[in-house]
């Protein structure tokens, strides 16, 4: 019998560690020792950025993959958290920034992001399925235009620069190694948190609502409340991603959560795959690699170096057309090919 795939385990929690294949341990170890041989660029720009975008896309994956709700407002939630850290904490815009200590401004950022996400969720879940995309896109764009016009609080077009992480425990958290471990920690934390929650009553209820909302309400679940609660939960990985993103580039401006980045998060999650929390990170890694090396790739393809959007758009279309489950889906297909029973030609895993 083939090993049980994580998405198909039962609520009976078996020993978590016994079932993890050796390859996963190796990969974990690789991520931990990476700073010993990788360059600062690789740690900070490639992996740090992938972890951050992965976390924000993870919050979309949680809503879309488990709840069937394609919220385009997750990048907006991240951007809002980044703004709150810049406004309440320290930045180069001393007129606005309050210089509150980190233990006030970070919880404030998480709280405000969670409240915002809850309100957005409450607005979006009042209508069914497909409207969610429209409503959340409208909310995301409204946030973008609002931050661009508002100078009192958001400092308008230019936003905030000089937003640095606090010097906690005497560590400079913007140093590539420290930032790498910081973002790795939070990415791993939210990866496991989402994996864990997916098997909890809340997570299972969400998946039930995705498959059949009417039946869930017939079973005694409050469908609307679960959906809204999912938005609230998903706000946290997005908000932490947003704070890290702000620290990484030391700035936040309307463009950080503009319509382009909002769509990019969806693209990342879909390219990676919405079936499993690892998907967003795979998608984010591919996106970051493409973005960092797009010039070389495009020149190799005989196009101008600046056609990154074309490349990512076409890649996205290819995935949506041929593998709706993203790169993860492709991987599963390839693996299943080798697992077919030679006599009956069916998958061994499936009864």
């Amino acid at each position: 019998m083939a090993q049980v795939v994580t998405t198909e385990t039962t609520p009976q929690s078996r020993s978590m560690f016994g079932r993890i294949p050796a390859a996963y341990w190796l990969f974990g170890a690789f991520l931990l020792v990476l700073p010993s041989f990788a360059s600062n660029f690789v740690m900070y720009q490639i992996f740090g950025w992938s972890f951050i975008l992965g976390m924000i896309a993870l919050s979309l994956m949680f809503l879309a993959g488990y709840g069937g709700m394609f919220s385009l407002a997750q990048m907006t939630v991240a951007g809002l958290a980044g703004y709150v850290v810049a406004i309440c904490g320290t930045s180069a815009i001393t007129d606005i920034s309050q210089n509150w200590p980190w233990y006030v401004n970070i919880p404030a950022a998480l709280l405000i992001a969670a409240i915002f996400a809850t309100v957005v969720g409450w607005l979006a879940v009042r209508t069914e399925g497909i409207y969610t995309i429209m409503i959340t896109l409208a909310v995301a764009s409204a946030f973008f235009y609002f931050t661009r016009q508002n100078y009192v609080l958001f400092n308008g077009f230019s936003g905030f620069n000089g937003v640095f992480p606090p010097q906690l425990f005497g560590v400079d958290w913007r140093h590539p190694v420290a930032f790498y471990y910081l973002s790795l920690f939070w990415a791993a934390f939210w990866y496991f948190a989402v994996l864990y929650v997916s098997r909890s009553p809340m997570g299972l209820a969400l998946q039930g609502i995705r498959d059949n909302p009417r039946r869930m309400s017939a079973l005694g679940f409050d469908v609307t409340a679960h959906r809204v609660a999912a938005y609230t939960f998903a706000a946290f990985p997005a908000a932490i991603g947003g704070i890290l993103l702000t620290w990484q580039s030391a700035q936040i401006s309307p463009g950080t959560a503009g319509v382009g980045p909002v769509i990019d998060i969806l693209v990342i999650a879909v390219i990676g795959g919405l079936r499993h929390p690892v998907g967003p990170f795979v998608g984010a890694f591919v996106y970051v690699i493409l973005k960092s090396f797009s010039i070389d790739i495009l020149v190799a393809l005989g196009l101008g170096g600046e056609r990154f959007q074309l490349l990512i758009g076409l890649g996205f279309l290819v995935i949506v057309f041929w593998s709706p489950d993203g790169l993860l889906g492709l991987w599963a297909k390839l693996r299943d090919l080798h697992r077919r029973d030679p006599l009956i030609g069916r998958l061994v895993r499936r009864l």
């Binding site: 497909i130 429209m134 409503i135 409208a138 235009y145 609002f146 959007q309 074309l310 758009g313 279309l317």
Partner: protein, 337 residues
Amino acid sequence: MRRFARLHPWWSVWIAIATLVLLYLTFAIWPPWLIGLIGKKKLFLNSLFNGITLGSLYFLIASGFTLIFGLMRNVNLAHGSLYMMGGYIGYLIGDWTGYWLLAFPVAFMVVGLFGVILQYFVFRRMEGEDIRQTLVTIGISIVLADIMLWAFGGDFYNISPPSWLSGPIETIFVTGVKRSSGDLIYLKYPLVRLAIFAASLAIGLGMWLAINRTRIGMLIRAGVDDRDILSASGIRVQFVFVAVFAFGAGLAGMAGVVGGTFQSIAPGEDIRFLLASLVVVIVGGMGSIPGAALGAVIIGIAEQFGSVYFPTYAVVVTFLIMVLVLAFRPTGLLGRN
């Protein structure tokens, strides 16, 4: 109307009061206290008219969007790209031939044809998969935006209207009285905007007639109500779908020429107008053409008044309207429950 009044007495009273106030503000000569309160009448009339003409542009875009959505449950997030494509095509045609009027049918046909291709080769293959179709439209909009950026660069393109349409004309609306002579001062307003308003009105009426009086319109209405009816009616559903998608896309293309004439075409406009049609359709009611008209006028006016009277928070006004509608009537003002 009588039925509406019976069902919603308070709403009717409010609507009646608002109409009377609007009529007074439009036609009366403003007393000084009113000018002291909200500024000059000329400013007010200009924002009102700009709002209505902007609304008519929004209507041209959003009506196609809402029709496609209502019939095929396809949230076409590439609609803004179709608008922009129409604008660039209109610019090229105007530039080459010098005939502004020619830009409209050409943009309509080229973008409509593009719509046919999309519907026939792409969306037909994923019928009933709402989310996947929407994702595809996102992909298409990313690709189209970059191709257009590639071809036209980041410059602003302006389509210039013909000379017989340029310049302002004097309207019948009084803005004030000349203190010296006691003569009435009439509002001057750009003719091209009035022409566009009239054209949108004509297109809107035409669509309404087509949908309510013709056989294919009947089918579309039936399909919006219940898609199973369409397939049961024996008509070739695909034909209706392709026709509607082409028409909606063509309208967006034509709107691009309009937008390129009284504003301009540049990268980023696709997203701006996509957002506008989303908000219009959310406010007016998804899948409803009268809803798109109502939503377009409300959003157009709100945007113009917002930018004149509360410049910092113009977007917030639009957004607040959307949030209020969603909170109290999630299906939109004229949407079905």
